[in-house]
């Protein structure tokens, strides 16, 4: 019989994710997919998986899982505080961004993310999950994905793919940027905002609020004044769009974004800074910096070199 993880505690918002489910947005299905692409790929790399293999994404407090069956090579990526409890009761402090072997009866307890929002758990060979329209990404709002499109639940068994050998241990030294500058390109409705608000947007700090999840990040700061119209004809949404509803406070649309929307967009986050953005926790402050497409594209080339 295949090995599995028994879920003893699901954590706050643990879902299976891969790179996303595409070619369905015109039917109302958001792409979903991992929030932090870099950490997602690192956790796969550490256990020798293909970089697009599905992983378990967790936010803030992660799950407590017990392995039942054959030993498995596992990795936890991110800035994570976690423990491994051996079957005999020994407690080992977990090391993130480094793969490790666990045996039948061992437990992994992901206590919390540190100064960050998301982390990933990968297992060599991957989780045995049913793809839905080509992806194992979970879109909880629409109940789309494996395990009925829901978050991880207590008591669930998550089976692992059978593999002949569990692979070799590996570690990667990661450097986490501390700076709070997020680069953006001007949005489609940039000129809907007053001159003062355009300046404020790039000079004032904006605070990440608690109303932040996989769908969007609500910010709080200097109110942005719309001088044209606070509603536009609904149009397709791309992740990283910074929309400004009638109250003048920005909402950045993230991986589970609505497919269409009718608020004006002042800016779009560049791809190279998206991972950094989604890791900002409530209370942290960010500052937007305007760049052009050439800079964004060259930043992207640098970003992919990290993988």
């Amino acid at each position: 019989m295949s090995s599995y993880f028994k879920i003893l505690r699901p954590g706050i918002n643990s879902t299976f994710q891969d790179l996303g489910r595409f070619q369905l947005q015109h039917l109302g299905v958001a792409p979903s997919g991992c929030m932090d692409k870099f950490l997602f790929s690192i956790s796969n790399k550490l256990v020798g998986n293909n970089s697009s293999e599905g992983a378990l994404e967790f936010a803030y407090q992660g799950p407590l899982l017990e392995l039942v069956g054959e030993s498995a090579l596992v990795a936890v990526s991110g800035r994570i505080n976690f423990n491994i409890t051996k079957k005999n009761g020994d407690l080992i402090k977990g090391k993130p961004n480094e793969s490790f072997l666990i045996q039948d009866g061992d437990k992994i307890d992901i206590l919390s993310t540190i100064d960050s929002a998301y982390g990933y758990l990968s297992v060599a060979g991957g989780f045995k999950l049913k793809e839905v329209n080509g992806s194992i990404s979970t879109l909880v709002r629409a109940r789309i994905g494996p395990k009925d499109g829901d978050k991880l639940k207590i008591g669930e068994k998550i089976f692992l793919n059978d593999i002949s050998s569990s692979g070799v241990k590996n570690k990667i030294k990661l450097h986490f940027e501390k700076n709070n500058t997020i680069r953006v390109i001007k949005g489609l409705q940039f000129n809907y905002f007053s001159n003062k608000s355009r300046e404020d947007f790039f000079s004032k700090e904006y605070k990440v609020t608690r109303l932040t999840d996989r769908m969007g990040m609500r910010l709080e700061g200097e109110k942005l004044e719309n001088i044209v119209s606070t509603n536009i004809k609904s149009e397709g949404i791309i992740k990283g769009s910074v929309q400004i509803p009638g109250d003048g406070q920005p909402i950045i649309l993230l991986s589970d974004h609505p497919t269409i929307g009718g608020y004006p967009k002042i800016a779009n986050i560049i791809t190279a800074d998206y991972d950094k953005l989604v890791q900002k926790t409530p209370g942290s402050k960010i500052k937007f910096k305007m760049v052009d497409l050439t800079i964004a594209e060259s930043a992207f080339r640098q970003y992919v070199r990290k993988f």
């Binding site: 070619q23 015109h26 390109i185 949404i237 791309i238 269409i260 560049i270 964004a296």
Partner: protein, 229 residues
């Protein structure tokens, strides 16, 4: 006519067909959408993640590792897709609807606002040949038009927190179908037992942008015994 192509961030473009919300404008959007989908299928275009039509725009999201906005814009500009015929890609769909007062939650409001009897409203609704402008909000949820002027009424002042799946609503010249239970502010005229969306199917949505829809009135008994294939 395609008026303007703009970049959205570093991994998207907006193809803008002007400010008008009309079938004529939307047909042009959908021609480009069909052309992009065909080009993906025939592998003439790589790296496209999603292509989302709305009333007057097509928003394309791409993988920056595979294609750049400049290449994509050049590809669109160098191809003539305007002569493609929508009916070759799109279909007519008949959707059963039950106008029973149990389902038509806003009969009174509709009658008051339009000064028509519900029977007259239903007749006009059934006569309308609807065009699917776009799909979104929740999976499979169509925005269709156009209703005649005499049926145009505003959104509810207070949206409902929960509407049953299958509810058919009208606002202004548009008609929608709530493909899932969800909140909503449209005036509810009836309900369909017809499932619009199933993610486990290869083609999850019964409707595509550009399709046409006609409603067919069914009794409450037919509603209750209706079987989705």
């Amino acid at each position: 006519m395609l008026k303007k192509i703009s970049n959205i961030g570093d991994c998207g473009i907006s193809c803008d067909f002007g400010d008008e919300v009309s079938k004529k404008t939307n047909r042009e959007v959908i021609k480009l959408f069909n052309f992009i989908m065909d080009s993906i299928k025939s592998k003439k275009l790589k790296g496209i993640l999603n292509s989302t039509p709305s009333y007057n725009k097509l928003i394309i999201n791409f993988d920056l590792a595979k294609v750049k906005s400049k290449e994509l814009i050049e590809f669109i500009k160098s191809n003539d897709y305007s002569k493609t015929i929508l009916s070759e890609k799109n279909k007519n769909v008949e959707i059963p609807i039950c106008y029973d007062e149990e389902f038509a939650l806003d009969i009174k409001r509709l009658e008051n606002k339009t000064k028509l009897s519900f029977k007259e409203i239903v007749e006009k609704h059934l006569k309308t040949n609807f065009f699917v402008y776009m799909i979104g909000f929740v999976p499979g949820h169509p925005f269709m038009g156009d209703l005649g002027k005499e049926l145009e009424i505003d959104r509810l002042e207070t949206p409902r927190v929960k509407l049953p799946k299958g509810s058919v609503g009208v606002v202004e010249k548009f008609c929608n179908i709530y493909s899932f239970e969800s909140p909503g502010g449209w005036n509810i005229i009836g309900k369909t037992p017809f499932d619009l969306f199933d993610i486990n199917k290869k083609d999850p949505s019964k409707l595509l942008p550009g399709d046409t829809v006609k409603f067919k009135s069914i009794s409450k008994k037919e509603f209750l015994t209706f079987k989705n294939e």
